[in-house]
Point group: C2
Chain length 310, copies 2
DNA sequence: GCTCTTGATAGTTAATTTCTATCAATTAGG
DNA sequence: CCTAATTGATAGAAATTAACTATCAAGAGC
């Protein structure tokens, strides 16, 4: 098999028709080039250069192989270009997974800033159930998750982005709607609606309900936060919902109202999750820093946890 | 710059997603492959493979570069194919120069046999004056000459093909037309016409005329053997012409007749001439052997000199 | 005839590639 | 839960390749 260096020397000989000038153009000595051309001819089993002391000519095979060598060297040089462009930060596609209760209400807050700062960054976003998303991340079908933490998988690394309080959502004419804040004891006797099992939010709401001795409905479960909201509006119960959803979907409609908890509110932590060993960790850390800065400016309802320094 | 070997290892890793299996398929040990992948990543300044103990994945850059590497390796393999096919005998184009007094009457004798035996051989044929042809051969514009010998050029090699006798050509009603053979003394008092200077045949005819004390015309010279023949037919003199020309153009027309010399006829040697150092010498020797066999069968008028064994 | 230039060769050195031995980490099986 | 097997990585040594310097023979130009 020829080496790339040998092809480079052959191309130089084809261009210069002079061994010493070809060697100079390749930054090697003339004996080196002469010996490598001869070695190439031996490897290929054919003569490539017709030489005498007074003149050098390419054989037909030599011409053809020099042309193909030129093309190969160009393509190898392009590999460097690709490798360099791959290094440019946040300039390719990131395949992101989000749980239903995060993506639609959080990403729109930061995407305008993100696109302005990194116009070449593409986000390919898939929504799904938590277990499915985790498996897709592990399998390499996704690169990154925005996901409730903690995540206890040895193959995955994570980084906290923000803590999002949970608020109480009720019909506009509910007795608690007159209160500015809800003490958990006020929820006694009420029915709490939640998403169906499989959602991390379901487990969170179940845990909160147990803590405060509040009934968690098993008869009526939502398939999405929107369907939950609609059931709450018809008086079938109250619900506990994340602050960013409330900001996005509840605050500017009047079919339900939301009130924060008094004192230390229950909350969930949202973070980024990626595979240990990923080559894009630097990229993801840069992305998280940017998202944290953007959220600090645009979402006072939540507590940003990540490092916002540049 | 990546090496071809490194690209080969990367392609194998992309195919196998397993370092040990990739190493096996490349016939190297696993530490060799691991180290070379790492070296490639350092040379390119980007990560190509995402690896943990349990699984190996290609990065986006790694995938792209592996694909381009695959293409480059395919093109390098094609160079071997070309080198091999260039070795295949008499399968390309030979650029041939012939003097006017040789080509048109000799090549048509052997071309049918030649084309049948070597269908891929192309002959690019140029006619010209001897000095021009010699210069074109030296400059590389031609590969091979069919040419009167000897040729005394240090840069050129030659090989005899055949000896071609010279015959006397006269009007059909000339007094010598009754003779079956011409003794040179019979030419006393006659005027010999020849080609203009610059042709090797001119020099040959001049030499013969001097040997036999026969007048060589300087007033009327031919630009081709055909124009000579026409002048002979009109009684402007006799001429001395090569046997193969006679066979081709004179024998089946009745405006002139040809008679051989008695005893040892003057003759010329025709051979092949090529550059010393040519890579195609083996090819040319094979061609000459074939031509000699063909002429032996088809041209009893001449004496074949080359080696006719296969 | 002498000097300069050419591509080639020989011996040596430097660089690269490959090996073996071994490691720490992870997974699978008992 | 423990042990054995397998993984990719590292270190040092050996083998191979590429490059150097010195020099050669041959040809061209003056």
């Amino acid at each position: 098999m020829p080496s790339l260096q040998q092809l480079r020397y052959l191309v130089a000989v084809a261009d210069q028709l002079h061994f010493r000038r070809a060697a100079e153009s390749c930054n090697v000595t003339q004996p080196t080039l002469s010996a490598q051309i001869k070695e190439l001819e031996m490897r290929l089993g054919t003569s490539l250069v017709e030489r005498s002391r007074s003149k050098v000519m390419m054989t037909p095979a030599g011409k053809e192989i020099a042309e193909r060598g030129r093309r190969i060297l160009r393509e190898v040089a392009e590999i460097h270009t690709i490798a360099k462009s791959g290094q440019s930060v946040l300039s390719s596609v990131i395949r992101i997974g989000v749980v239903q209760t995060v993506g639609s209400y959080f990403l729109p807050l930061v995407i305008p800033d993100l696109h302005q700062e990194y116009p070449k960054l593409g986000l390919y976003i898939r929504e799904g159930l938590p277990d499915v998303l985790l498996r897709s991340l592990e399998d390499g079908a996704l690169d990154l998750l925005f996901f409730p933490l903690p995540v206890n998988r040895v193959e995955l690394d994570s980084l906290s982005l923000f803590r999002e309080p949970i608020q109480v959502v009720m019909p506009w004419d509910h007795r608690l709607a007159q209160e500015p804040e809800i003490d958990p004891v006020m929820l006694r006797g009420e029915t709490i609606l939640s998403l169906e099992p499989g959602h991390r939010l379901h487990e969170l709401v179940r845990s909160i309900s147990e803590d405060y001795g509040v009934d968690l409905s098993h008869d009526y479960e939502g398939t999405s936060l929107d369907t939950l909201r609609q059931m709450v509006a018809t008086g079938m119960g109250l619900s506990l919902m994340p602050a960013l959803y409330v900001k996005s979907e509840v605050a500017h409609q009047d079919i339900v109202v939301a009130r924060p908890f008094r004192g230390t509110a229950p909350s969930r932590t949202i973070g980024m999750v990626w595979r240990k060993g990923t080559s894009r960790e630097k990229e993801f850390r840069l992305l998280s820093a940017f998202i944290c800065r953007s959220l600090t400016a645009r979402a006072p309802e939540i507590t940003v946890l990540g490092d916002v320094s540049r």
